[in-house]
């Protein structure tokens, strides 16, 4: 049996077996107790040709419905430049392992350094690691960092306006890690300042996690929050939509200690569910508490500026159960993705992305309200490109009608609550189509 992925000829196998002093390959499994051997082929389909593989996936792909996307909820349909796949598919990047050997891995190390630099700029915090799995796990790791930094204290507060998926993951990690995770109440779409102050009073809080924009698209005012946290020796942690950080006040400017979130909004295709990318940035003094890979600059013996994995003593392969985290594989190639994205976009491109989304969202909101069938749920608060409506109609009905018209009309928050996001990818016509659907409800 020859398979196209295996270079072994019969002759090769014979010669290799001879070298190994065994008569057959199965003799190399002589140490496996006989009853543990499968003794049959796996119950998998027959070997497929590429045509059959393509046919199989074509049929799967055709069973999905591509829609014009007004859904957000943490994941956004942004412009994905064609340059990026061309770069990340370079086999030198794609088929490399973690850059343990810096002499032959400067490509990976260099882009991670660029990535760290850009994320640091975006969040306004001094240091960044080399990437996390996604925004939810990154935020959970930030929570763990705060507890590790605080010692002794194991209570963390999270605002109810943080994305529920993120809070779910935080809750899971907290539960098993032995962290007490308390929720700061929401009032009218924003985090309750009163509840925050109350819960901080005891001084047993290691960290406080809030969001910007929050789950409802609202830009909350965190003036003074960091001071409160710091006065209680708690860390102030912000979960932000990466793309929005191009224009909104950055965690650094809010005096946050850690920023964590998802970088999918930086031009990464939704691709149903990814891969996406978690980012994690912090103030400089927290660097040795950070999870994951970190790349640092140094020089080589020829005096060249070069890059290496650094502070590895934090990591699992050295510190084992004392490591800052168990993270090992991260989302390396996706870090390259957003690095190239930010290179192409620059600050002006990110600004433009937000300007366009903001203009579209506000105009769409105005037009939708004008139909008389919906109202802004939080008219008092500013939003960037995502907003919540209360509706006269059943949201499921509306979404179903949208699908019929080729539109994903938003994210359902309740039977009469709908959240809509606008990016540069929805045209004026698309918006008109959405308004028309609402009119028909």
């Amino acid at each position: 049996m020859i398979h196209r992925y295996f270079p072994h000829t019969g002759e090769d196998i014979d010669a290799m077996l001879a070298k190994c002093n065994v008569a057959s390959i199965d003799d190399l499994y002589s140490d496996v107790p006989r009853k543990l051997l499968l003794g049959r082929h796996l119950n998998l389909p027959d070997e497929m040709s590429e045509k059959e593989v393509r046919d199989f996936f074509d049929s799967l792909f055709d069973q999905n419905v591509n829609l014009t996307c007004f859904a957000g909820g943490g994941y956004y349909d942004h412009y994905a430049p064609a340059v990026i796949p061309a770069i990340i598919s370079r086999s030198e990047f794609l088929t490399a392992y973690t850059p343990y050997q810096p002499e032959i891995s400067q490509g990976t190390l260099q882009y991670i350094f660029e990535y760290q630099s850009m994320m640091s700029q975006l969040t306004g915090l001094e240091v960044s690691n080399a990437s996390m799995y996604d925004g939810a796990t990154a935020t959970a790791e930030a929570m763990i960092m705060s507890v590790a930094s605080a010692r002794k204290r194991n209570r963390v507060l999270v605002s109810a306006t943080v994305n529920p998926a993120v809070r779910d993951v935080m809750a899971t990690y907290a539960h098993y890690h032995g962290i007490v995770l308390d929720t700061i109440e929401e009032h009218d779409g924003v985090t309750s300042r009163d509840d925050f102050e109350t819960k901080m009073a005891a001084g047993d809080v290691a960290g406080v996690v809030v969001a910007s924009p929050n789950y409802y698209g609202i830009l909350e005012d965190y003036t003074g929050w960091a001071d409160t946290c710091h006065s209680k020796k708690s860390l102030f942690i912000m979960n932000c939509v990466a793309s929005a950080l191009g224009v909104i006040k950055s965690p650094g400017e809010w005096d946050a200690d850690i920023a964590a979130g998802d970088a999918q909004s930086l031009g990464m295709p939704l691709n149903y569910v990814g891969p996406y990318l978690g980012y994690l940035c912090a103030t400089k003094d927290l660097i040795r508490k950070m999870p994951g890979r970190i790349v640092g600059a140094t020089t080589d013996d020829a005096g060249r500026r070069v890059f290496v994995l650094t502070l590895q003593a934090r990591e699992q392969h050295i510190r084992r159960d004392k490591a800052t985290s168990n993270i090992c594989s991260n989302q390396g190639l996706m870090a390259l993705y957003v690095t190239v994205y930010m290179s192409l976009m620059g600050a002006s491109g990110l600004d433009e992305v937000n300007q366009i989304g903001c203009a579209g969202a506000h105009q769409l909101a105005d037009e939708l309200v004008k139909t008389g069938k919906v109202k802004l749920k939080y008219p008092e608060y500013p939003f960037l490109n995502e907003f919540v409506l209360t509706t006269d109609f059943d949201v499921d009905d509306f979404l179903a009608k949208g699908v019929d018209c080729g539109v994903l009309g938003g994210v359902k928050l309740g039977d009469r609550e709908l959240m809509i996001a606008v990016t540069e990818m929805q045209s004026r016509d698309d918006m008109t189509r959405l308004v028309d659907i609402v009119k028909q409800m």
Partner: protein, 484 residues
């Protein structure tokens, strides 16, 4: 050597994008200025041709599986088939949103469900979740499953995890993140877990025993049936670290060995590319009776044949924002279908053959601490001739000069000079022979001109980066760099 940073190519007035404009009225002024940035982020301003050339040239300082042999032990650097990349990049998937109604993503869900089912067959498990993003994340999830199981039985005192001293670093680290205390069990001289050492550790405070089999020395844990019995008798569960699954594919199954929970590294055994560190995927499988604890959300098949995304109360909770790394799962499924059962039957066997062939071809010159057949990988304890002063690090760096990636070094911790070699099944005998010849040359060189080996590498794009400086004064961003 191309070593520029993109920031150094930036000039104000360049741009690399063009956005569609919806023509709507600018509204950003409706947001109070206090909520906006004072200062724009300092990102580069570059045009598209400059970006392309920059990253293109940067890539040439990297080494991938497509470049050459990558015998990195424990990492299973096998060939990544191109058809998988084509499938993963299909533009019909690009704009599907994670919150689309299930009935509009039936194809995507069927893909998930199909892969879950095939992995269950391969691992001998009842059910899999594809959510975990990486091997370590799978371990963490698996341990949470185990804790959820004990909790469901009201068994709160199980706070320990036993791991062999040869275990991957992620095992104890994951245990710690999962809130468990790590207890190490010793290895016997033959590299396998010392059952006598294990037995007394197994009390009512043990939640789980984590093992990888074959272990990190590439040795099959032949006492695994007994171990499984002991573990289960103690009321604990047995966790399988799938990092070393490759040699068993089509030969034996963790589920049949008594493992209760396992993860699989799709980026190792199922050939999705490592991407310089990720994204990978660490699906977790469980035996019957544990499936209710798998994390939310889950992809299930309904009686009418349709697929749905489900959340349950029995689940351990949620460990991911959504459903894992979709494109990685797509690649793994494409790989399994391309192999079929015929190809799958050869994966483990050929990987094992390749490893044993290298081992037998070098054991006269490199110290083989444990005799006998290995599986997908094996460990030398440095050069056989200890008089030269040439270390495993030197050997590894000298390999770089010859166009090879280095093996894994100084792991496992059982030996001082561990040199861990894993060739995988997609390397040809010629490649192995060339590698063997170079390894033999290096051994000879170590005896004759040890300074050449000790000074390696000599021909790489950069040489001898100063790690100490990097760690003492961390410079991790461009801003720090220009201010340092």
């Amino acid at each position: 050597y191309y070593g520029k940073l993109i920031f150094e190519l930036s000039r104000q007035g360049r741009k690399g994008y063009k956005l569609p404009d919806n023509g709507c009225t600018p509204s950003i002024d409706r947001i109070p200025a206090a909520l906006m940035r004072d200062k724009a982020p300092e990102l580069p301003d570059v045009d598209e041709p400059t970006v392309v050339r920059h990253y293109n040239n940067m890539s040439t300082n990297n080494f991938g599986v497509d470049t050459g042999f990558y015998p990195l032990g424990s990492c299973t650097m096998k060939y990544n088939p191109k058809i998988n990349e084509e499938i993963a990049a299909d533009r019909r998937m690009a704009r599907l949103h994670p919150l689309q109604p299930d009935y509009t993503v039936q194809g995507a869900l069927k893909l998930y469900y199909t892969l879950q089912s095939l992995l269950s067959e391969i691992g001998g498990m009842k059910e899999f979740t594809l959510n975990p993003y990486a091997g370590a994340h799978g371990e963490l999830t698996g341990l949470m499953v185990i804790r959820a199981y004990h909790e469901s039985r009201g068994d709160a005192k199980r706070v320990k995890v036993i791991v062999p001293d040869s275990a991957h670093g992620t095992n104890p680290a994951s245990a710690a993140v999962a809130g468990l205390k790590v207890v190490e069990v010793k290895s016997r001289p033959d590299g396998t877990v010392d059952v006598d050492d294990l037995r007394p550790l197994l009390d009512e405070t043990v939640a789980a025993v984590m093992m990888t089999n074959p272990n990190t020395l590439g040795i099959f844990e032949r006492n695994i049936p007994e171990i499984a019995r002991l573990v289960h008798d103690a009321g604990a569960l047995l966790y399988y670290d799938g990092a070393n699954l490759n040699p068993l594919v089509g030969v034996a199954r963790p589920g049949d060995m008594g493992f209760d929970v396992m993860h699989i590294n799709l980026h190792k055994t199922f050939s999705t590319p490592h991407g310089g560190g990720g994204p990978g995927a660490g699906p977790v499988g469980v035996r019957a009776g544990l499936e209710q604890f798998l994390p939310n959300p889950r992809v299930v098949k309904r009686d009418d044949g349709t697929f749905a995304v489900e959340h349950t109360d029995t689940a351990l909770g949620q460990v991911t924002g959504t459903l894992g790394n979709f494109a990685v799962s797509a690649r793994a499924l494409s790989y399994i279908l391309s192999l079929g059962h015929q190809g799958a039957a050869m994966v483990g066997r050929l990987a094992t053959l390749n490893a044993n062939y290298i081992k037998e071809s070098l054991r006269d010159l490199y110290l083989l601490p444990i005799d006998g057949v290995c599986k997908h990988e094996f460990v030398f304890d440095g050069l056989a001739d200890k008089s030269t002063g040439v270390t495993t690090l030197n050997v590894a760096k000298r390999l770089l000069d010859h166009g090879y990636h280095a093996p894994t070094i100084y792991f496992p911790l059982l030996f001082h000079e561990s040199l861990m070699i894993e060739p995988t099944e997609t390397e040809s005998k010629e490649t192995l022979d060339d590698f063997i010849a170079v390894m033999r040359d290096i051994a000879r060189e170590a005896a004759e001109t040890p300074e050449v080996v000790k000074g390696a590498p000599h021909n790489t794009p950069i040489t001898h980066p100063d790690d100490t400086q990097a760690a003492l004064h961390p410079v991790v961003t461009y801003t720090q760099l220009i201010n340092s």
